[in-house]
Amino acid sequence: MFNVPAFLDSLQYMAKGMTGVFLVIAAIILSIYLLNRVFKAK
């Protein structure tokens, strides 16, 4: 019923996936800080 080897093997996707999401989000956050700095609200 339970496929433990497949579960353990899939943990790499969790690690890679979450790291990937955070890295892209970090790039976006930096870009927004840059935009807010360059184009300040009047």
């Binding site: 496929n3 497949a6 969790m14 990937g20 976006i28 009047k42």
Partner: protein, 372 residues
Amino acid sequence: MNFLSELFANVGNVTWQHAVMWCIGGVLIYLAIAKKMEPALLLPIGFGTILVNLPLSGAVTQGEEVGVLTLLFDSGIANELFPLLLFIGIGAMIDFEPLLSNPKLFLFGAAAQFGIFFTLSMARLFNFDLHDAASIAIIGAADGPTSIFVANVLNSQYIGAITVAAYSYMALVPIVQPPVIRLLTTKTERRIRMAYTPGSVSKTTKILFPVLITAVVGIVSNRSAALIGFLMFGNLLRECGVLNSLSDAAQNVLSNLITLILGITITAHMTAAEFLRVDTLLILGLGLIAFVFDTVGGVLFAKIMNLFVKNKVNPMIGAAGISAFPMSARIIQKMGQQEDPQNFLLMHAVGANVSGQIASVIAGGIILNMIH
């Protein structure tokens, strides 16, 4: 007599599986009308479920005879057209200002995608193959079009069940999230107040934001370029200030029309033969796990963040990092006010909530890049 037996010949083709599917359709219609749960989707899905489960229903392909719902599915969902068009409307509806004025909120959108990857592993534990496991996991994106898009690209056989689970749990966010949030936070944490500074974002930033996001996400996660591009195109229509009528059309006419067709078209794959399987129940269970662990990921991330920052974040904001917009943000505001009537968390929660919309598309793209 012959005439009568010919007229009612199809009655003999009714099976108990058809009857069960009619009940499921009826429940979905009831939830849509009586409980007002995502009625724009659950009602067409409910009605379509009854329609396609009439014996030898002409609405779906039977042998050589092409059914209209199968035709719509092949020409609108199998090629990802409808989810993408719907994203233009969703993009036009979203105001990203709360997020742009406090970009840190983006982190909660990222953290609340944890449920997707956790569910992928759980689905593998239950022996789903990798493509189906990833398609089931994307229910945790809490975002219908992304779920349909990813499940379709990965050619999942469970697209009907995945879509129903995604939209049902989005509607059930007010029931699913509060107990998980209460379990993970103390009363004192739920009472944390957060300052909000409106009007600090320039018009230029708002216009450049959708272009920038499209470029960054499209380059890094090329498989989600279409999803993020259509979402951000809709937002650019809204923010540019010179295409108000198009923005209105995207927000209302386009999204209503696509939602209407999308809901009933999905049911082409909700026939008893495809839906009434133990796997389907398992998928519904895994969908719940995805939503619960999205919430867990967001709340715990906020609590960890509070260990390092001076201005504390209300950890409930982390739970709003899921893409179910705007239900999740409303829940956080309501829960905050239950603890402290003077606590206004709505704008922060909206910021985290719209960041979840973008983060879920990124997560979907990353899943496709890793697995497809």
